[in-house]
C-alpha cells in the first residue's frame, strides 16, 4: 500500500481512487501543538533559576546559509540534550505572487532569481512545467543539454557546501575550540585514505579545511569555477542561465562545446574521489572517537526525490506518461519511508503532496468559500488533495510569532502527511534502492548500496561504493553529498557521450518551436536542486499564469510543525542531537552540534522580500528575528 494516511486506495489495475464511504476524505483535525517551554517568561525564568544549565540558544541568522533561516532551541546542557526546537524561515518568498498574470515564459527567468546559488534548476523546472502545459518536449539533444547543465550545477554546488558552508564546522579552528580532545586525537590519527587525498593525519585534513587559508577550502573555490566554466558554454551565464526555453535550450551545441565540457568533467573524476576519501575519513574518525556522533542530526530515513536527468528518448513532457519517463530518469523518482522504497511513480509522488499552513504566516486557502478544490484530480484522473500545490493559493498573513501557532514563512509540505527530507543524497539513496536501474553505465545499484565506476584521470580509475547507512544523520548527509560529486560527474559524462552520439547521427536540434496556448492548461515540473526536491506547478489561462506554485527543498526541510503534530525535518533532527561539545561553563557553549545538524541539510532559504503587484512594491524587510515569544514581534 502506497499511502497509509491519505484516503487513497488502488483498484486491481493499480488505478488510484478515493476510499469509498468517507464523507470528507481529506479533512483533518488539528492536533494541538505541545506547550512550549517558553510559553511565558515567568515559567522560563523559573526553569532558568532552578537550573542554569537550561539555556535558550537562538541562531539568528544561521550563518553560512543562503537566505534567511533562524533557529530557536532550548538546550539542557547538563543532560546534554535539546529540549525544544523551532525552525523559522524569516522572509517571505513572493514568487508565487509575482508570477501571477504574467506570460508563462517569464517564469523561466523570474523563478531563477529565487536562488543565487542554483537558479538554473528553477529555470529548467519551469521549462518542464511549461512543456507539460504547452504539450511539447525537446528533441534528444535539448534533453541531453539540460542534463549536462544540471550535473554542472551540482558540481558547483556540492564542493561549495562541503568546504565553504558546512566544512568549516569540521576545520581545525572549530574542532580546537569546541572539542579540544578531538583535535588532540586527530593529530595522532593517521588518515586511512592518504593515498587518495594526500593528507597524513586527520588533523592535517582539518587544518586544510580552515576557511580562507586551508588548501581544501581553496581547492573547492577553484573547482566551483571549473564547473561554472563548463556551465556557461551551454547556459550562457551562471547562476541564471539565458538559454533555457520551453521545448529545450536556445543555444546550439557543437563538438568543441562537448569536448570543452568533457575536459572539465574529467577533473571531477579525480576531485570526486578525493572528496569522498576526505569525508569517509572524517566521518569514521568522529564515529570512532564517539559513536554518538552518528546521532547528530538523526532522523528516520524518510526522503522524497522527484527524479531527475531525463532519458532523451523517453521524456515526452506529458503527465499521462510521467510514470514511464520518470522511471527512466538517471535518478529515479522515489519516496522512501523509514528506509523502505514506497514508490518510484511520479504520479503517486505528486498525488501524496500537500502543503499546510497552520504554523505559517499564510491563510488557509481552502476556507475561501469557493466550494471544493479547483482540481479534485490530476490530468490522469488520480485524486488530489485540496492542499495540493495545483490547488494552493498563496495568501500571506503576517502576524506575531508564537511557537504554538504561527512562526515561519515556510509552509509545511508533507507527503502522505509525513514530514520528508530531501537532498543530494536522496538521489543516491533512491538509486541504491532501485535495483532494476539497468540503463546506468557507470553506476550500479545493489539494493543496499550504489557502486560507482570512476574513470581514471590523474588518479587511477576506481570503484567506489556508497552504502546506505544504519543511522541517518548529519555526518551521513555530508558523506552522501561527497559521493554525489562522483555521481553527478558520471551522469554528466554519460550525457556528453550521448551528445556526441547524437552529433554523429546528425541530431543536433536543441529545441522545438512553441506557441503560448490561449486556452486553459496546467503543467508541472519535477526536477532537482543542489539540495534536493524541486517542483513547479502552473495553472494558466488566456495565455497568462493564473497560479504558480514552487516547492523547494528547504520548504520541505525548514518547515514548521504540521497540523498532525509532526515537526519539520530540521526541528526533528536538532531535537535528536546530543550535545557533544566540550565546554567548561554554560556561557562557553557554542552549539556546534546543533549547527552541524542544521548545516548538514545544506539549508538554502529561497529569498526575496520584494512583492510585485499592479501598484508595484508593497513590502520589504518582512522580519529577521528569531526572538522568543515574549518579545512580541509583529511580522
Amino acid at each position: 500500500m502506497c499511502f497509509k494516511n491519505l484516503p487513497i486506495e488502488f483498484d486491481e489495475e493499480g488505478n488510484a481512487r478515493l476510499k469509498e464511504g468517507v464523507a470528507n476524505p481529506y479533512s483533518y483535525e488539528v492536533q494541538e501543538a505541545p506547550t512550549p517551554i517558553e510559553e511565558n517568561e515567568e515559567k522560563l525564568q523559573e526553569l532558568l533559576a532552578r537550573n542554569g544549565h537550561i539555556r535558550r540558544v537562538d541562531f539568528d541568522p544561521v550563518t553560512r546559509v543562503a537566505g534567511a533561516l533562524a533557529f530557536h532551541t532550548v538546550v539542557d546542557l547538563e543532560n546534554r540534550s535539546v529540549l525544544e526546537t523551532n525552525s523559522m524561515a524569516t522572509l517571505f518568498r513572493g514568487y508565487e505572487v509575482i508570477l501571477k498574470g504574467r506570460d508563462p515564459r517569464d517564469a523561466i527567468f523570474i523563478s531563477s532569481r529565487a536562488c543565487g546559488v542554483c537558479g538554473g534548476v528553477h529555470s529548467t523546472c519551469s521549462a518542464l512545467a511549461l512543456e507539460m502545459a504547452f504539450g511539447i518536449h525537446p528533441p534528444p539533444m535539448g534533453v541531453v543539454a539540460r542534463n549536462i547543465l544540471l550535473s554542472l550545477e551540482y558540481l558547483y554546488d556540492h564542493p561549495l557546501h562541503l568546504f565553504l558552508l558546512a566544512g568549516p564546522d569540521f576545520s581545525e579552528p572549530a574542532v580546537r575550540e569546541t572539542n579540544p580532545e578531538l583535535w588532540a586525537r586527530a593529530q595522532g590519527t593517521p588518515a586511512p585514505r592518504k593515498d587518495v587525498h594526500g593528507f597524513g593525519t586527520l588533523a592535517e585534513i582539518m587544518t586544510e579545511m580552515t576557511p580562507l587559508t586551508g588548501k581544501l577550502y581553496a581547492e573547492a573555490l577553484h573547482m566551483t569555477r571549473v564547473a561554472r566554466e563548463a556551465y556557461v558554454l551551454i547556459g550562457g551565464k551562471y547562476p541564471h542561465p539565458q538559454t533555457i526555453v520551453p521545448g529545450g535550450i536556445s543555444a546550439t551545441i557543437d563538438v568543441s562545446d562537448l569536448n570543452e565540457i568533457h575536459l572539465r568533467i574529467a577533473k571531477f573524476f579525480d576531485y570526486g574521489q578525493k572528496v569522498v576519501a576526505i569525508w569517509d575519513d572524517l566521518t569514521e574518525f568522529f564515529y570512532e572517537a564517539n559513536p554518538q556522533y552518528a546521532d547528530v542530526g538523526k532522523r528516520p530515513a524518510r526522503l522524497i526525490e522527484p527524479g531527475q536527468w531525463d532519458d532523451p528518448y523517453a521524456y515526452d513532457g506529458t503527465f499521462e506518461n510521467a510514470d514511464e519517463w520518470g522511471r527512466k530518469r538517471w535518478a529515479p523518482p522515489a519516496v522512501i519511508v523509514d528506509g523502505e522504497l514506497v514508490t518510484t511513480k511520479l504520479s503517486q509522488l505528486n498525488m501524496g503532496i500537500e502543503e499546510f499552513v497552520e504554523h505559517s504566516f499564510y491563510e488557509d486557502w481552502t476556507s475561501n468559500g469557493n466550494g471544493g478544490p479547483q482540481f479534485p484530480t490530476d490530468p490522469a484522473g488520480n485524486p488530489l488533495s485540496p492542499w495540493h500545490p495545483w490547488n494552493k493559493e498563496t495568501i500571506p498573513k503576517p502576524g506575531g510569532t508564537n511557537w504554538k501557532e504561527k512562526y515561519s514563512w515556510s509552509t509545511s509540505p508533507r507527503w502522505d502527511r509525513m514530514s520528508m527530507e530531501t537532498g543530494a543524497y536522496s538521489r543516491i539513496y533512491a538509486n541504491a534502492l532501485a535495483e532494476d536501474y539497468s540503463h546506468l553505465n557507470y553506476i550500479e545499484p545493489t539494493g543496499s548500496s550504489l557502486k560507482f565506476n570512476v574513470p581514471g584521470a590523474t588518479l587511477p580509475s576506481a570503484e567506489l561504493e556508497w552504502k546506505i547507512p544504519q543511522t541517518w544523520g548529519a555526518f551521513e548527509r555530508n558523506r552522501g553529498r561527497a559521493y554525489c560529486i562522483v555521481y553527478s560527474a558520471l551522469i554528466a559524462y554519460e550525457n556528453v557521450l550521448l551528445g556526441l552520439d547524437l552529433m554523429r547521427k546528425g541530431e543536433t536540434k536543441t529545441s522545438v518551436p512553441h506557441e503560448v496556448p490561449k486556452d486553459f492548461r496546467i503543467g508541472a515540473g519535477f526536477w532537482g536542486a543542489g539540495r534536493g526536491y524541486l517542483t513547479h506547478h502552473i495553472v494558466m489561462d488566456k495565455g497568462v499564469i493564473e497560479n504558480y506554485q514552487i516547492v523547494t527543498p528547504s520548504t520541505w526541510m525548514a518547515s514548521p510543525s504540521d497540523p498532525f503534530g509532526n515537526p519539520g525535518p530540521y526541528e526533528e533532527a536538532v531535537a535528536a542531537t546530543p550535545v557533544l561539545e566540550n565546554f567548561e561553563k554554560p556561557e562557553d557553549y557554542k552549539g556546534i552540534d546543533i549547527l552541524r545538524a542544521i548545516r548538514s541539510f545544506d539549508p538554502c532559504m529561497p529569498c526575496t522580500t520584494h512583492i510585485h503587484t499592479d501598484s508595484r512594491v508593497i513590502k520589504r524587510e518582512v522580519v529577521t528575528c528569531a526572538c522568543g515569544v515574549e518579545d512580541d514581534h509583529d511580522h
Binding site: 550563518t63 546559509v65 576557511p211 577553484h222 547562476p239 520584494h610 508595484r616
Partner: protein, 157 residues
C-alpha cells in the same frame, strides 16, 4: 595605464542600480586603456577572473550604498584596503557564493582572495529609493552628471 571601471549592484532596484546602470552607459565611451564592465556578479568569481587577467593599475568601482547619509550624497575615495577579521571575511565569502552582490562584499572578498590592484577607487552614492523598479529618485536623478564625472575623475592619473 590600465584602468577597469566597474558598476556594482542589482538591477531594477531604482537608485540601488546606479552601478550597473552606469557601467552600461559608460561602456561605449571606454577608451585609452580604460575598460568598463558590469561587475555585479559574485565576487569570488570576480577575484578569480581578475587573477587570470593582466594586472590593472587601478580599479574604479561605482555603487549605491546605504550608510545613513543624506540621499544623493556622492563620495569618491581611495579604498584603504583594510580587511576585517577572518570570521567576518568568511561570512562575506559565504554571502558571495550564495548570491549576495554588494560593494562592501566585493571589496572584502576580492581583497582577501586576491585580484585587486593596489589602487582601488570607489564612487559611492547614497540612495533615496531602493524599491523595485526602473529609473531613479529625483535626488539621484539630479546627481547623475556629478556621479559620472566622479567616475571619470577617478580614472585620471
Amino acid at each position: 595605464m590600465r584602468v577597469l571601471v566597474g558598476g556594482v549592484g542589482y538591477r531594477f532596484l531604482r537608485d540601488g542600480s546606479i552601478g550597473p546602470w552606469l557601467s552600461d552607459r559608460l561602456a561605449d565611451q571606454a577608451d585609452n586603456g580604460i575598460e568598463v564592465e558590469d561587475l555585479s556578479y559574485h565576487p569570488v568569481g570576480l577575484s578569480q577572473n581578475l587573477q587570470e587577467r593582466p594586472p590593472y593599475d587601478r580599479l574604479v568601482l561605482v555603487a549605491a550604498v546605504s550608510r545613513g547619509r543624506p540621499p544623493g550624497t556622492v563620495e569618491a575615495y581611495r579604498w584603504d584596503g583594510e580587511l576585517p577579521g577572518r570570521d567576518a571575511i568568511q561570512a562575506r565569502v559565504s554571502e558571495a557564493v550564495t548570491g549576495v552582490i554588494s560593494l562592501d562584499n566585493l571589496l572584502i572578498v576580492c581583497g582577501a582572495l586576491g585580484g585587486l590592484p593596489d589602487d582601488v577607487r570607489v564612487v559611492e552614492v547614497e540612495p533615496a529609493d531602493e524599491g523595485w523598479g526602473e529609473g531613479f529618485s529625483p535626488e539621484i536623478e539630479a546627481r547623475l552628471g556629478e556621479v559620472e564625472e566622479a567616475v571619470w575623475s577617478s580614472t585620471r592619473p
